[in-house]
């Protein structure tokens, strides 16, 4: 294994001995021989044992889902694909279900009045809607100096109807005559 080490130092002990024409070749070959020396170094003792021990003590990868080897491999690729598609379908379906059930906040209702004078439509003839929350228009009474007195019935103006005496008597007899019939009805 260590066949080169003796030749390299012999060459490097007098590096200027090469001719000028072959200087570059000898320089590059010397460099390669140095690298070759490094490449031929012996590995430390017990390297393999340490590596194997390290592999045994290394933490194994945790598996979230146990996947049997018989289902794995090249033959079970379609099963994995189907399982992945099913998971994606369930997740997407659940998300869609939540999305469709949650309703967004209702926007404020606004009555859109038709434009006055729109072509082909009815016009309001300039009428303005008065909101019901307001009282009607209050007409201000003109202020006067003399308050208006209410009209009173004058006694002097009361009419006195003079009926003839015979008519009064006949009326009285009629009332007396009609009384027994009223009592008899009771």
């Amino acid at each position: 294994m260590n066949s080169h080490p003796q030749s390299i130092p012999a060459q490097t002990s007098n590096p200027g001995s090469a001719s000028s024409g072959s200087t570059s070749e000898s320089a590059s070959s010397a460099a390669e021989q140095t690298l070759r020396l490094l490449a031929q170094l012996r590995s430390p003792e017990g390297l393999e044992d340490r590596v194997i021990a390290g592999l045994h003590s290394a933490p194994r990868r945790g598996r979230i889902l146990y996947w049997p080897r018989t289902l794995g491999g090249s033959g079970g690729a379609w099963i994995r694909g189907a399982a992945a598609a099913a998971i994606v379908f369930v997740v997407a379906g659940g998300g869609w279900g939540i999305y469709t059930r949650v309703q967004p906040a209702q926007p404020a209702r606004v009555l859109v009045m038709p434009r006055a004078g729109a072509a082909g439509g009815f016009s309001g003839a300039g009428a303005m809607r008065t909101p019901e929350t307001l009282h009607g228009p209050v007409v201000a009474r003109p202020v006067t100096d003399k308050p208006i007195e209410p009209k009173t019935v004058k006694k002097s103006s009361a009419r006195v109807v003079h009926l003839p005496l015979r008519a009064l008597q006949s009326d009285a007899n009629g009332a007396v005559a009609s009384q027994p019939s009223a009592t008899a009805a009771k």
Binding site: T12, A31, L38, P44, V51
Partner: protein
């Protein structure tokens, strides 16, 4: 078959699935352990050539095999395990070097003299060789990244140009052209470092 027999048969079938899994897991772990035994040294050398720190290189090898263990299901689909593993560890060490920006311990000449084998040489020769190696490695660090990577991987005799191309994810012709440029640049850098003296 009676109902109870059918139920028992079904239970037995259900019981058999984890047993198969356990056996398969153990087989895969044994396969990973075999990969460790076979390629840990090569991966260490690849990691060390970039990081030039023994502890970091060992950590990189450990991380590479951890990744292998994580993807042990796909081990059977890998064509060339060696190139695949080298590619993994190569990406790990490049990422670590990019993040850490730590000073390699082999920038120290004394450490380099200790690490690199120099059998049969006097102490003075060893020190001179270590200085030369440190200078060469300093020039390698100055190379553009693409050329430097190809040059470092070409130092591994166990990797052909096709395998280097596979590790780097480029074509073989790109490997050759980059290697050619790297050699020219390296020679220029080394001559430039010698000329002031």
């Amino acid at each position: 078959m009676s109902t109870s027999q059918a139920i028992y048969a079904g239970w037995m079938e259900i019981q058999n699935i984890p047993v198969d899994d356990l056996a398969r897991t153990q087989a895969e772990e044994a396969q990973v352990a075999a990969l460790v035994t076979q390629y840990a040294g090569a991966l260490y050398r690849v990691a060390y050539s970039v990081l030039r720190n023994s502890a970091d290189a060992e950590d990189a090898v450990q991380e590479a095999f951890m990744r292998v263990l994580r993807h042990r299901d796909t081990l059977d689909e890998v064509r060339d395990h060696r190139v695949w593993l080298i590619r993994i560890v190569w990406n790990i060490v490049l990422d670590r070097k990019r993040r850490a920006k730590t000073r390699p311990e082999t920038d120290d000449v004394a450490e380099l003299a200790r690490v690199l084998p120099c059998g049969g040489l006097s102490a003075e020769e060893i020190a001179s060789a270590a200085q030369h190696h440190a200078k060469v490695l300093g020039c390698v660090e100055k190379l553009p990244a693409k050329e430097r990577q190809v040059l470092m991987l070409s130092a591994f005799e166990e990797l052909s140009s096709v395998e280097i191309a596979e590790v780097l994810g480029i074509t073989e012709s790109s490997v050759r052209s980059r290697l050619f440029r790297a050699r020219i640049l390296m020679a220029e850098l080394l001559n430039h470092s010698r000329s002031p003296r």
